[in-house]
């Protein structure tokens, strides 16, 4: 039972989030998602289910897309974490962020941060990803608004520009 949990071990870890270093006191059981949202108030990372099924909490850890709700914060100590807040450099949207807006890939927007980070990880590894590869890379990110059409089109638009 969640309610019966005793206070766990606490320790200080260093998280490098969006190129800024934070020394944080965390419990061993705390997820990266809770630390990002509650301690660092980086609420752009969303929680849609808390059990690794919807992808809304996707962030990049050393360039890999991971689910922050299933990742313990202590396991990311010292690693390079990128959240949606870290994508726009100097106030300029990243190509994927820009394409999402322009192509109508955003509706309610709750899945958008996770989608964009999954797509960012994909295109940095595979800049010429095919439509099937894009679909596969987004399979863990649920969107209930768009039917995925305009999301995939937005990613293809960026792919065509860079490759």
């Amino acid at each position: 039972m969640k309610g019966e949990r005793k206070q766990g071990t606490r320790r200080v870890i260093t998280l490098v989030v969006n190129e800024e270093e934070h020394a944080l006191m965390v419990e061993d059981r705390e997820t990266l998602l809770d630390v990002l949202r509650d301690k660092l108030v980086l609420t752009g990372t969303k929680e849609g289910c808390g059990t690794g099924e919807c992808g809304a909490c996707t962030v990049l850890v050393d360039g890999q897309a991971i689910l922050a709700c299933l990742t313990l914060a202590i396991n990311t100590s010292g690693k390079k974490i990128t959240t949606i807040e870290g994508l726009a450099a100097g106030g300029k949207l990243s190509p994927l962020q820009h394409a999402f807006v322009e192509q109508g890939a955003v509706q309610c927007g709750f899945c958008s941060p996770g989608m964009i980070l999954s797509a960012t990880a994909l295109l940095s590894k595979n800049p010429s990803a095919t439509r099937e590869e894009i679909q596969k890379a987004l399979e863990g990110n649920i969107c209930r608004c768009t039917g995925y059409n305009k999301i995939i089109e937005a990613i293809e638009k960026v792919r065509d520009k860079i490759s």
């Binding site: 039972m1 969640k2 309610g3 019966e4 949990r5 949202r37 509650d38 108030v41 980086l42 609420t43 752009g44 990372t45 969303k46 929680e47 849609g48 289910c49 808390g50 059990t51 099924e53 919807c54 809304a56 959240t83 949606i84 807040e85 994508l87 726009a88 949207l93 962020q97 999402f100 807006v101 322009e102 192509q103 109508g104 955003v106 509706q107 309610c108 927007g109 709750f110 899945c111 958008s112 941060p113 964009i116 894009i134 679909q135 596969k136 987004l138 399979e139 990110n141 649920i142 969107c143 209930r144 608004c145 768009t146 039917g147 995925y148 059409n149 305009k150 999301i151 995939i152």
Partner: protein, 777 residues
């Protein structure tokens, strides 16, 4: 010619949503905020003998515990009318009627403390017999969830929460003279919204006695009305703030117990309180869509023309009325919308069972009704040897027809939709080819199918109307104050477009302030499919009013009349000259000459201006809507004969939404509805046993994923123009298009393999039992 209206314009909230800046309710954090959790009934039907909260109250970190005793005797309902008074307590009183019903709530310093406190609340229940199946619940010897709520019911049924009956024409004669009569039962499953943002509420009762609320909803004014009633507070003391909404699809309209509890806990503690529902809580206990059973009997002549129908609709509304009585009223409307029916005998029953309460979901019954009608239409066509397109063309309503309730359908592009959809997909050729293919030995079979539907454009339900204010800043930029809440469909963008169009400015020159009940005027809300029409017209009027004042002021500068002036690029030009003055100058002059009065315009709009109230839920009489959108949709599917897997490959939507103000947003609405319909047709199913939800997660309740994206295309049948003067007519686009494509998918499967689904979803097991009968268990 319009400059911005009708153009593919990216949404104005896109940037804050892709940078993570957009604050949803779940992102609101206030200093000293407490965590709220809700204790739920572990039984589907029981009497509450005793609740003891004393242990919980004494626990470290626990700040308040509330039960039904703290909730006065307030009841609430989706519908609150003399015929259907509110029937649900905000916290269970002396009885629980479904598993998961809210019994108590706590506020504590953190989640752990709150959960521990829930465990420490002692509740003694006396279990009562429960009933889950709607036909079982209607029997005389069934356990009583509530007494029958319909005084005029003359049938010996139990647990009837609502009934809607309507008939017209000579139904007896229609069936006597029929060439063919078909009678079928169609069943639609329990499905759910799966909005990605969980249900969440933040409340802060401040020291001035004002309750501040952020809640994931579909209209802040409707929430304020419900909350102030339930809390017995004046509306002026309840401020519902805007927060971005992470999807709703009908599931966030009603007042929810957690909203009341979060507010009351804040009032008790004087501290901000936040409640966020867990995903399994949402799947198990929150409001899903309404399952429907429809018995549909249809009489046609030799040419397949409808002569008359008898229809009986049944839905289980759950343990309280919810939107069930609206659902059975709407079902009547969705029956009579697209096709000419000379005679109809209709009755709909909303039945109480010991299940969670049901809510609207995108289409609110239309997908289920159209699934039934469109399936039967194809069956009739096949029996008569008429092709599916021809039978639809023969029955489709035409421009100017009048519906049985007296609504004129004004412009109806339905026949054009059907014809264009058939032409663009090469429907008839593929249909015949696939029919022949049914007898061939191939592992993957192809199918094509069509479905049509129509949907109303807003109706009268609280608050019925919208108002808007447009103000000029001194520098010539503008502010729009609107109560509209953007739930993802792009409400703010479209309203901003309308103001920019009317005033000849860029959308960047307009700041939209929205959805805050304290700083913006009343709004109808993002539901019942009327926002762009109702709020859009209110906004347009407000923009026209400031335009008039601006032109008057400028005309004085030119010593001309306002009709001699025109607006362009934030300047006012004297027509046919190069003389112009800036907006700033005209605004300054207006202020100077009017004793310091700035330029402020207001507008308001209400549909059905000649109707005092909305249509009757009892007999479906009375005006319903100013206009109706129409669509014909085609689905192309592949069915794997070995596995029974149905893949929706392509969808085409030919639709008459009046005038698409922003095609980029319209396409987004269509794609989303196609995807949602495909989920409903093939996989989505909330599986419940004895009140327990067996698949309360995204792993077990399947929704369409990126790998299942359906190629989607569109044909706009434009039947209205955006007119600068007078009200503009745009029609519904946000929920009507789930229906046609849902029916099209099931018809396409029938075209592929000959399997006629009368029960949704047509999952692999049902299809496989047909395609591969020897292999099924």
């Amino acid at each position: 010619m319009t400059r911005l209206i009708g153009k593919r314009i990216p949404r104005i909230d896109g940037t804050v949503k892709v940078t993570g800046e957009a604050k949803y309710t779940v992102d609101i954090q206030l200093p000293g905020m407490l965590c709220a959790k809700v204790l739920r009934s572990p039984l589907p039907h029981a009497r509450i003998v005793h609740i003891d909260t004393s242990r919980a109250e004494k626990m470290a970190g626990v700040k308040a515990v509330i039960t039904g005793r703290d909730a006065w005797d307030v009841r609430h309902g989706f519908v609150e009318t003399p015929r259907y008074p509110a029937d649900q307590y905000v916290l269970a009183n002396d009885r629980v009627r479904y598993l998961g019903e809210e019994v108590a709530a706590v506020a504590a310093v953190d989640e752990d403390a709150a959960l521990a406190a829930l465990d420490a609340i002692d509740v003694v229940y006396e279990e009562l017999p429960a009933v889950f199946d709607l036909f079982e619940a209607m029997k005389q010897d069934a356990p009583e969830v509530h007494p029958v709520q319909v005084p005029d019911l003359d049938e010996p049924y139990k647990n009837i929460g609502g009934m809607c009956a309507n008939s017209f024409g000579d139904v007896g004669e229609a069936f006597r003279s029929a060439y063919l009569v078909r009678k079928d039962r169609f069943e639609s499953q329990l499905r759910t919204h799966c909005y990605l943002e969980p249900q969440a509420t933040v409340a802060h009762y401040d020291s001035t006695g004002t309750l501040h609320v952020w809640t994931s909803s579909m209209g802040t004014f409707r929430k304020r009305m419900h909350l102030s009633r339930a809390l017995k507070m004046p509306e002026s003391r309840v401020r519902v703030h805007k927060s971005w909404v992470g999807g709703a699809f009908g599931g966030k309209i009603d007042l929810f117990s957690h909203e009341f509890c979060t507010a009351l806990l804040s009032m008790k503690t004087g501290r901000p309180v936040r409640f966020v529902a867990e995903r399994d809580e949402i799947f198990s206990y929150f409001r899903h869509s309404q399952p429907m059973v429809i018995d549909l009997e249809t009489a046609v002549d030799r040419q397949g023309r409808l002569l008359g129908q008898r229809a009986r609709c049944y839905n289980s509304c759950g343990a309280y009325r919810g939107s069930g009585v609206v659902f059975i009223f709407l079902a009547w409307g969705f029956l009579v919308g697209p096709y000419r029916i000379p005679a109809l005998d209709y009755a709909g029953y909303s039945v109480y069972t010991n299940s969670p309460v049901r809510a609207p979901q995108r289409g609110h019954g239309a997908p289920k009704v159209r699934f039934a009608v469109e399936s039967q239409m194809d069956m009739i066509a096949e029996e008569l040897g008429i092709d599916p397109i021809e039978i639809r063309m023969r029955n489709a309503r035409q421009k100017g027809e009048v519906l049985p309730n007296g609504d004129s359908i004004r412009n109806a592009g339905l026949t054009e939709c059907i014809a264009e959809a058939a032409r663009a997909t090469d429907f008839q050729r593929k249909y015949s080819e696939n029919t022949r293919g049914q007898n061939e030995k191939s592992t993957v079979k192809k199918g094509i199918g069509m479905g049509v539907s129509s949907y109303f454009t807003g109706t009268l339900i609280y608050p019925n109307n919208s108002a808007a204010i447009v103000l000029f800043n001194d520098d010539g930029t503008l502010k729009l104050l609107t109560g509209a809440l953007d739930i993802g469909q792009g409400a703010e963008t479209v309203l901003c477009q309308i103001v920019a169009e009317e005033l000849g400015v860029d959308m960047q020159d307009i700041r939209v302030v929205a959805a805050d009940t304290e700083t913006t005027p009343v709004d109808i809300g993002s539901w019942i499919s009327g926002l762009t029409y109702v709020t859009g017209n209110a906004v347009k009027k407000a923009a026209q009013e400031v335009k008039k004042m601006l032109l008057l002021s400028a005309a004085k500068e030119f010593e001309a009349g306002p009709e001699d002036c025109e607006l362009r690029d934030r300047r006012i030009y004297l027509k046919e000259t190069d003389k112009s003055i800036s907006f700033e100058r005209a605004i300054a002059r207006h202020i100077r000459e009017n004793g310091g009065d700035p330029i402020i315009g207001r507008g308001n709009f209400r549909g059905l201006k000649d109707a005092a109230i909305g249509p009757s839920l009892k007999n479906a009489k009375g005006a319903w809507s100013d206009s109706y959108a129409f669509d014909a949709q085609v689905a192309e599917v592949e069915v794997d004969m070995r596995t029974g897997k149905v893949t929706v490959v392509r969808a085409l939507t030919a639709h008459d939404c009046g005038f698409p103000l922003n095609p980029l947003l319209v396409e987004g609405q269509i794609d989303g509805q196609v995807s949602m319909a495909a989920g409903q047709a093939t996989v989505e199913d909330v599986i419940m046993k004895n009140g327990v939800t067996l698949n309360p997660s995204f792993l077990d309740y399947k929704v369409p994923l990126a790998t299942e994206m359906i190629e989607s295309s569109y044909i706009d049948i434009i039947t209205e123009q955006y007119e600068r003067e007078g009200r503009f007519i745009t029609k519904e686009v946000g929920e009507g298009y789930v229906s046609g494509i849902l029916a099209a998918i099931t018809n396409a499967v029938a075209n592929a393999v000959g399997f006629r689904a009368k029960k949704l979803p047509l999952n692999v097991d049902s299809v496989k039992s047909f395609t591969n009968p020897g292999d099924s268990e």
